[in-house]
Assembly symmetry: C2
Homo-oligomer: 420 residues x 2
């Protein structure tokens, strides 16, 4: 124990020496770079801090460099020395939503990778950690594969994060539980608002391709007549005609209707309605902008007003608040975000995989429990997973009990609300 | 003390007797009707519960009837017996956002009033409490004045509530502190999001005519470069040209920009931009619908993209979440909401005024303290107050320190966020 502590101190001291040239430090001590990428979340900083605190324990890691704005920070030589902040400061960062290092949506090409390895060579970087979703995992995979091709020895680990919950490698992803908690809380409050001033309320919820976050709105329900009364996921082809009929039926039953609608809903042609209405702006991974606009909600409200002749129809688009609202994160999500970051550093140091991601595996049985296991990075990269059929009600406008059972422990208890 | 308790029991028992005819109970025991009106808030149920618990203490009040959906409940004979719920249930209702009795936006006309007095006569109603904003105060004023004309003895009290904070009779209104807390928290998180993925972020905040809630976004700031960097209130004529220039200046300084914009901003012509873009839908008080649509945010984003050639511009409209999000209410606001309800019942029982509202008066001096005083109902009715000039920065795109000093104790501490 004492020896390890001493070794860590030596490594840290060694790493801090300025102007050290390649080859002048023991080969067993390498520096690490960590960065954040893609959309922020309420717990992505937990993963960062989990990784940094784990790295600080190791004698094999020298400098701990946080690149600002993902790989853009590496390309622009813009780092934060993550050995400097006190644990108290790191804990405050961990509690803070959004990506403390800054983020980006850059897909690295061959030229980027070449520049990255030049930079890494200069800085003696042997470990690279990239926290993000499937696009970020793909970016990390590209860096890892290009490093192999270039003969640059680099251990690359992707650390899972996405409020969309759509990584194929994870039972669920850090960030989802807290965003789902925001969504379910908001819908619970909004349902009460809709009780007070009746009519139709449409709430547009994030999730480009996967409807998990929209599905989580169902956790708001306590009583039989609680909203959301209708839930529309991108996994079920959206029909305007059925939507009108669904709403009319709920209106007949309750005199009011709360709809949770994914920003990614699409008709039979597979093209998201939000993308058709939006600016058409794309990031370098080819994703069309859908958030940060109220167009879809307004379009659906217009349909109900004009075609179904419903008088009071309102639409809200929850937007970026879903991923960055402070003070309401799910505790389970926070703990798991932290653990995923630590697990990546542990796995990288073990060296079983040179390019990995951390899978989150849920134990079978009644008690909620998860394990963190290193798996090949390909398992998380590029392709996403959808809400599986067993979580979607046959009606196509709701979720099943199995989904509630799946999501509830990740989200935690919501503020209790009473009605007369 | 014991005698009072006994008298209360007698009154309660008396009031519960079915089929009692006018004149068969002691003239000193009258029944009361309480209702909620206008937009919900996070603490309007605190006022309801404050009034009910105070009424339960009195020997002069028999039945305590909650009319559902404001005066619509009186017109439709739709009541909840508010002597029935346990204190535990009432406390849970008090913690719950939105209007537990339901709400409406009806302005009563002479026919409504006639029907109301017929109903009140049948039910032996001597006290009428109406919780709401300026339009609700005006509705209560109309009922009170018509009652006088009709010779119906009725004590009418308006209980202040509005997230807009625009009642002339109050230093600030119950509901504002909690909505402001939501807004400031959301902006604090959104500013962190904007740090991570840079560009311009526009957040549209409620407040038809008064910019208090938008102004409260300034409470999000801790560091010098924290957003909101620009604040636009309805009190300052909005100029597209100045808006573009303001944003460009902030972008030059920080490489990013968070704008807090009131839904009520208007040009020199005085017509709200949101009303021009919206559906044109009006309530019976003549208010044009502005919330429940993302049109204004999208329009402002388009201006910046097209005319200022800024690439990444996003807009969120906070919408109904501002008034109904559960679990994040300001404690001071909750306490004051409760106290305002109780004060109205106390004042009504004292009988100094037959048509009153509760003014909230802030004590001078360093320590935050308020008093609740009955004043004539006209003081709250119809006309609103704007953000006073001393709270608006000379630049026209920010608030002053005096505003921060004014608003901070009402909103309470926000979740702390750390940055590198």
């Amino acid at each position: 124990m004492k020896r390890t502590k001493k070794a860590v101190k030596v490594a840290a001291k060694e790493a801090k020496k300025p102007g050290r040239k390649p080859g002048r430090k023991p080969a067993s001590v390498m520096n690490m770079v960590i960065a954040q990428s893609g959309g922020p979340s309420m717990v992505i900083n937990q993963s960062l801090v989990g990784a940094v605190l784990e790295a600080r324990k190791s004698a094999k890691i020298g400098k701990i460099l946080g690149a600002r704005h993902g790989i853009l920070g590496i390309l622009g030589n813009d780092y934060i020395d993550l050995r400097k902040p006190t644990e108290k400061k790191l804990e405050a960062i961990a509690e803070t939503p959004s990506s403390a290092l800054g983020s980006c949506r850059r897909k690295p090409d061959a030229a980027d990778c070449k520049a990255i390895f030049e930079e890494f060579r200069k800085l003696h970087v042997g470990f690279f950690f990239y926290i993000g979703g499937n696009d970020s995992a793909d970016a990390a995979r590209i860096v890892a594969e290009e490093a192999e091709k270039a003969g640059y020895p680099l251990v690359v680990y992707h650390i899972p994060k996405t409020i969309d919950n759509d990584l194929r490698s994870c039972d669920h992803t850090p960030g989802f539980g807290s965003a789902a908690r925001f969504v379910a809380s908001a819908i619970r409050g909004d349902d009460l608002d809709n009780r007070a001033l009746e009519g139709v309320k449409i709430d547009i919820i994030m999730g480009r391709d996967a409807g998990f976050l929209t599905a989580a709105s169902a956790l708001a329900r306590v009583r039989k007549d609680d909203g959301p009364h209708l839930i529309y996921l991108p996994e079920v082809p959206f029909s305007e005609k059925k939507f009108i009929k669904d709403v009319q039926e709920v209106m007949k039953k309750y005199g009011r209707c709360v709809c949770a609608v994914s920003e990614g809903i699409r008709g039979k042609d597979g093209v998201p309605m939000g993308a058709k209405l939006g600016s058409g702006e794309k990031d370098s991974h080819g994703n069309v902008q859908m958030s940060g606009s109220g167009a879809l909600g307004d379009a659906l409200a217009k349909i109900l007003k004009e075609k179904a002749k419903i008088k009071r129809v309102r639409a809200d688009t929850f937007g970026y608040l879903q991923r960055s609202f402070p003070g309401i994160a799910s505790k389970v999500d926070q703990e798991e975000g932290r653990a995923a970051g630590a697990a990546a550093v542990k796995a990288a140091l073990k060296g079983e995989l040179t390019k990995g991601t951390i899978a989150i595996v849920r134990a079978k049985g009644k008690k909620y429990k998860v394990a963190f296991a290193p798996v090949p990075i390909q398992n998380a990269a590029k392709y996403t997973r959808s809400v599986p059929p067993e979580y979607i009600a046959k009606s196509g406008n709701d979720v099943t009990k199995a989904f509630i059972k799946y999501a509830a422990p990740i989200v935690g208890e919501l503020p209790f609300c009473e009605v007369f």
